[in-house]
C-alpha cells in the first residue's frame, strides 16, 4: 500500500498571497523537487507515488559527522560556549540511538569532560566561571546516563543538585533556568527529568508544576512557554512529558491538544512544523512527533489503534529531506546546514516514529499521587514490536527510545535502577 503523498496536498493560498503563504510555497517547491526524484515514473500519469522502499539511513555518514565533532569543533562554535554540556549529549545519544559503537575510551572521556562541567554547589555549566543552567544540567545528566556505569552516575552530587533545583524553584510552580534567568515550561521539564532520574523528587519540588503547565495551554490546544504565549512544539513536548512524569496529564484539555498536534503535520512535506502557519523543521520530529506516544497514553488508546499521525510520511520527510548526503548529519530542511542538535532530534524523532512505544492500559499503575510511583510508571514504557513501522530498508531501524527522556531504554533502565537503589535524600527523612 502506497503511503500518502500527493501534489494535491500543496498549500492552497486562495490567491491571497502573504509572506506566510509565499514562504510555505517556496519550501514546498524545494521539497517537491526532492520528492519528485523519488516518484516511480510509471505512476506519474495517475498522480505520482513515491517509492518509499528506497530510503536509506546513512549511518556511516552520520557517525562520521558525529565523531568529527567529538574530536573537535571549529571557532564557529564559540556561540555555543555557554551550552557546552549539550554537545556531548547530542553526540552520544545520536550514536546510541543508531546502535553505533561507543567505546570505553569515549565513555571515559565524556565522563571526565562532564565532571569538569559539574558545579559543586549543584547543576552543570560549561566551565567553572559560568552559572549552572537547568537545560545544560538536563543534557549533562542524560549524557551521563547514556554513557552509563557507576563512574558516570557518581559525577552528580544529588544533594547539591536538589538544593540548586529548589533555588531555581518559583512560587508559582515554575523554575528559572539559572539565577536571574528566564522562567518557562522548559525549566519544569528539565527539573523533573533530572529529579525523576536521580531519585530526588519531593513534594516541594513538584508542587504547582502541573497547574503552571495547564495555564500554558492556549486556546489553540498546544502549550506555550509561559501563560498567554503562543503554542509551540518544543514547549508542548516539555509540558506533556513533565505531566507524564507527574502522572497528571488529565489537567490538560487533551482533545484540543491532540487536534493541535495533528495539524502540525504538513500534508505535503510530511514532517512537522512547530506553530500554526510556520514552516516544517526536522527537529519537530521529536518535539511534536515524540509527543504522540505521550498523548496516546493520556487518551488511553490501545496499541491496536495507531498513533494519531501519519508515521510513514514523517519518516519519509526525515530520510529524504533531512539527511545531508554530502556532509553527514541531519538538518532542519533541505538548504539548511546539518548540525548536532538537528541530528539528535531527527534521529530520536525517527525512532519514535518507527517504534510503537507505550504502556499497556491494562497494567497502568493507578496511584500516581506519590512521588515514589515515578520510577515504576516510567519503566512501564516499552516498545511493541508488532506495531513498528519502518520506512525503507529494515536496516534503517533505530533503537527505541523513551518519549519522556529521549534516550534508549537500556541505559535508561540501568540509570533508574542505580539511582533508586541509593538512599533517599536527607531532606526526605526530616
Amino acid at each position: 500500500m502506497a503511503n500518502l503523498f500527493s501534489y494535491d496536498f500543496r498549500y492552497d493560498d486562495n490567491e491571497h498571497e502573504t509572506e506566510t503563504s509565499e514562504a510555505q510555497k517556496e519550501v514546498e517547491d524545494r521539497i517537491g523537487r526532492v520528492y519528485m526524484r523519488l516518484v516511480d515514473p510509471q505512476t506519474l500519469p495517475l498522480g505520482g507515488e513515491i517509492d518509499d522502499t528506497r530510503h536509506r539511513l546513512l549511518r556511516a555518514k552520520h557517525e562520521q559527522f558525529i565523531n568529527d565533532s567529538i574530536h573537535g569543533l571549529s571557532s564557529v562554535f564559540t556561540v555555543l560556549d555557554s551550552s557546552r554540556p549539550w554537545i556531548p549529549f547530542w553526540c552520544l545519544n545520536s550514536l546510541d540511538v543508531m546502535g553505533s559503537d561507543i567505546d570505553d575510551r569515549l565513555r571515559r572521556h565524556t565522563t571526565d569532560t562532564l565532571r569538569r562541567m559539574h558545579c559543586p554547589s549543584g547543576g552543570f555549566r560549561s566551565d567553572p566561571w559560568q552559572l549552572p543552567h537547568l537545560a545544560s544540567s538536563y543534557a549533562a545528566v542524560m549524557a551521563l546516563v547514556v554513557v552509563g556505569g557507576e563512574e558516570a552516575y557518581s559525577v552528580v552530587d544529588r544533594h547539591a543538585m536538589y538544593r540548586w533545583l529548589m533555588e531555581m524553584k518559583q512560587q508559582d510552580g515554575s523554575f528559572a533556568v539559572h539565577t536571574g534567568g528566564e522562567i518557562d515550561v522548559r525549566g519544569i521539564y528539565c527539573a523533573l527529568v533530572i529529579a525523576s532520574m536521580l531519585n530526588i523528587m519531593t513534594r516541594e519540588l513538584v508542587s504547582g508544576c502541573a497547574e503552571f503547565i495547564a495555564r500554558c495551554q492556549t486556546f489553540e490546544g498546544g502549550i506555550g512557554p509561559y501563560p498567554g504565549v503562543e503554542a509551540h512544539g518544543g514547549y508542548t513536548l516539555c509540558g506533556l512529558a513533565a505531566l507524564e512524569i507527574l502522572g497528571c496529564t488529565d489537567v490538560l484539555d487533551l482533545g484540543r491538544l491532540a487536534k493541535w498536534m495533528c495539524v502540525r503535520q504538513m500534508p505535503f512535506e510530511g514532517g512537522f512544523n512547530g506553530r500554526t502557519n510556520k514552516l516544517v523543521d526536522g527537529c519537530y520530529s521529536y518535539w511534536v512527533g515524540g509527543a504522540f506516544p505521550l498523548i496516546q497514553k493520556a487518551l488511553r488508546r490501545s496499541a491496536n489503534d495507531d498513533y494519531l499521525y501519519e508515521r510513514p510520511a514523517l519518516q519519509r520527510y526525515i530520510l529524504a529531506c533531512c539527511q545531508d548526503t554530502r556532509l553527514g548529519g541531519l538538518r532542519d530542511k533541505p538548504g539548511k546546514h546539518p548540525d548536532l542538535y538537528h541530528t539528535m532530534y531527527c534521529l530520536i524523532g525517527l525512532s519514535l516514529s518507527q517504534h510503537y512505544v507505550g504502556v499497556d492500559p491494562a497494567h497502568e499503575i493507578a496511584d500516581k499521587s506519590s512521588v515514589f510511583s515515578v520510577p515504576a510508571r516510567m519503566m512501564q514504557w516499552g516498545a511493541v514490536p508488532a506495531r513498528s513501522k519502518i520506512i525503507g530498508a529494515r536496516i534503517n531501524i533505530l533503537r527505541p527510545v523513551h518519549p519522556v527522556y529521549g534516550i534508549s531504554f537500556g541505559p535508561l533502565a540501568q540509570g533508574i535502577k542505580y539511582f533508586y537503589s541509593l538512599p533517599p535524600l536527607a531532606e526526605l527523612l526530616v
Binding site: D12, H16, I87, D112, D127, R215, V229
Partner: protein
C-alpha cells in the same frame, strides 16, 4: 609575542588585551586546557583573550567601566553567554550607567543577533528599574502609552517584528509590557495592524486572544473561564469570519474563533458562527468552493455540531450524524493526512464522549 602573532579580524586589527596599557594590572585567567575533552571548541584568539580577562575581573568582582566595555565585546561575539549578561546587569546597576545608553546598546546587539533570547530578558530588567510598578500604577493607560520608556519599548518590539513577523521573543516581550503596565487597548490596535499585514500571522492571532482574555492569570477584570460579553463575542465572530473570507484555507482565524468560543461562549458556536459559515458556503461560487474545500471548514463543523448535540439532546442523534459525516469527508477527501485523527474523532462522537 611579536607583531607576527597579532590576530587579524575582519573589522579592525585585534589588539590583545595583554598588550594594552589599561589592562596591565590584571592577571588573566586562561581556560584550562584539559586533555581528552570531548567536543572541544577551537575558540578564536580574540575570544580566548577577552574571556581570560573577563574571568579575572569577575573573580575579583571588579566594578568598572573597562569591565562593562569588555562584557559588551564578549556579548557581541557570543550573545548566548547568559553569565556575562548577568555580570553586565550588576555592573550597570552599580556603576549607575545611563539607562538610555544601555537600551541603545541592547538595540545594537539585536541588529546583529535577531534570534537571541538573553537580550529581551535583559531589557525587561532594565525597564523594570526605569519604570517601576508603583510609578506606573499612578498613570492612566493613555499616559502610559505616551510615556517615553514605554513608547520606546513598544517601538523596539515593533521593529523586531517588522524584521521577523513571528519573532517569538518579541511577541512574548510585548505580552510582558502589556500585562506589567496594563496597556491592553493599544495592543489590540497593533494586533489589527499585523493581521491586516498578513492574515496568516498566527502570533498576531494569539496576541489577539491574549489581549481579550489576559494571560491565564487573568486581566484585572477577567478570569480565564469567565463568559464574555455578548457584544464582544459578536464583534470577534464578525472579525474572524471577515478574515476567513480573505483566505479560507488559513488555520489561524478558524483556530482562534473555535478556541475562543469553546472556552468562553460555546452556545454561540451554533447560534451565531454556524449560520455565518453556512451563508458563506451557500454564496456565489467564489466563496463556496474555497470554503467547502478547505479542511478547516469541515473541522469547525465537527466542533460546532458536537457542541450543539450536547446542548440540544433531542436533536443530538441528527447532529452527531452530521458531525460524523464531516469526519468521513475529512478523512477521505479534504484532510487525508489527518485520517487517523478523524477516525479517532468520529469514534469519540459515536461513544458520546468529548474529543
Amino acid at each position: 609575542m611579536g607583531e607576527s602573532e597579532k590576530h587579524s579580524s575582519d573589522k579592525d586589527d585585534y589588539v590583545p588585551l595583554k598588550e594594552q596599557e589599561e589592562w596591565r594590572d590584571v592577571t588573566p585567567i586562561p581556560q584550562e586546557e584539559e586533555p581528552n575533552t570531548v567536543c572541544p571548541i577551537a575558540y578564536t584568539d580574540e575570544y580566548s583573550d577577552m574571556m581570560s580577562y573577563l574571568r579575572a575581573v569577575m573573580a575579583k568582582r571588579e566594578v568598572s567601566q573597562r569591565a562593562l566595555d569588555l562584557t559588551g565585546r564578549v556579548i557581541e561575539v557570543n550573545p548566548g553567554h547568559y553569565t556575562v549578561w548577568m555580570y553586565r546587569k550588576q555592573l550597570v546597576e552599580e556603576l549607575g550607567t545611563d539607562s538610555e545608553n544601555e537600551l541603545d546598546w541592547v538595540a545594537e546587539i539585536s541588529e546583529i543577533h535577531h534570534k537571541n533570547y538573553q537580550l529581551w530578558h535583559y531589557r525587561e530588567a532594565l525597564i523594570s528599574r526605569l519604570l517601576d510598578q508603583k510609578t506606573a500604577e499612578a498613570l492612566t493607560q493613555d499616559q502610559l502609552v505616551r510615556h517615553p520608556v514605554i513608547r520606546r519599548e513598544l517601538l523596539f518590539a515593533t521593529n523586531a517584528i517588522d524584521g521577523d513577523s513571528k519573532n517569538f521573543h518579541a511577541w512574548s516581550y510585548r505580552q510582558w509590557i502589556v500585562r506589567t503596565y496594563g496597556i491592553w487597548d493599544q495592543e489590540l490596535v497593533f494586533v489589527d495592524t499585523m493581521i491586516n499585514e498578513d492574515v496568516r500571522n498566527n502570533s498576531a492571532w494569539n496576541q489577539r486572544y491574549f489581549v481579550l482574555m489576559g494571560n491565564g492569570s487573568g486581566r484585572p477584570e477577567k478570569n480565564p473561564d469567565s463568559p464574555l460579553e455578548d457584544s464582544l463575542v459578536d464583534r470577534e465572530i464578525a472579525y474572524a469570519v471577515e478574515k476567513i473570507k480573505l483566505a479560507p484555507n488559513n488555520e489561524s482565524p478558524w483556530s482562534y474563533i473555535t478556541g475562543l468560543l469553546l472556552r468562553h461562549a460555546p452556545a454561540r458556536l451554533y447560534n451565531t458562527l454556524l449560520p455565518k459559515l453556512q451563508a458563506l458556503a451557500a454564496e456565489g461560487s467564489g466563496y463556496a468552493s474555497s470554503i467547502t474545500t478547505t479542511p478547516m471548514y469541515w473541522s469547525a463543523l465537527v466542533d460546532i455540531y458536537e457542541h450543539q448535540a450536547k446542548d440540544l439532546p433531542d436533536q443530538a442523534s441528527v447532529l452527531l450524524d452530521m458531525a460524523k459525516d464531516a469526519c468521513d469527508l475529512l478523512a477521505f477527501d479534504h484532510d487525508p493526512m489527518r485520517g487517523k485523527y478523524w477516525e479517532f474523532r468520529k469514534s469519540q462522537l459515536c461513544a458520546g464522549t468529548t474529543g
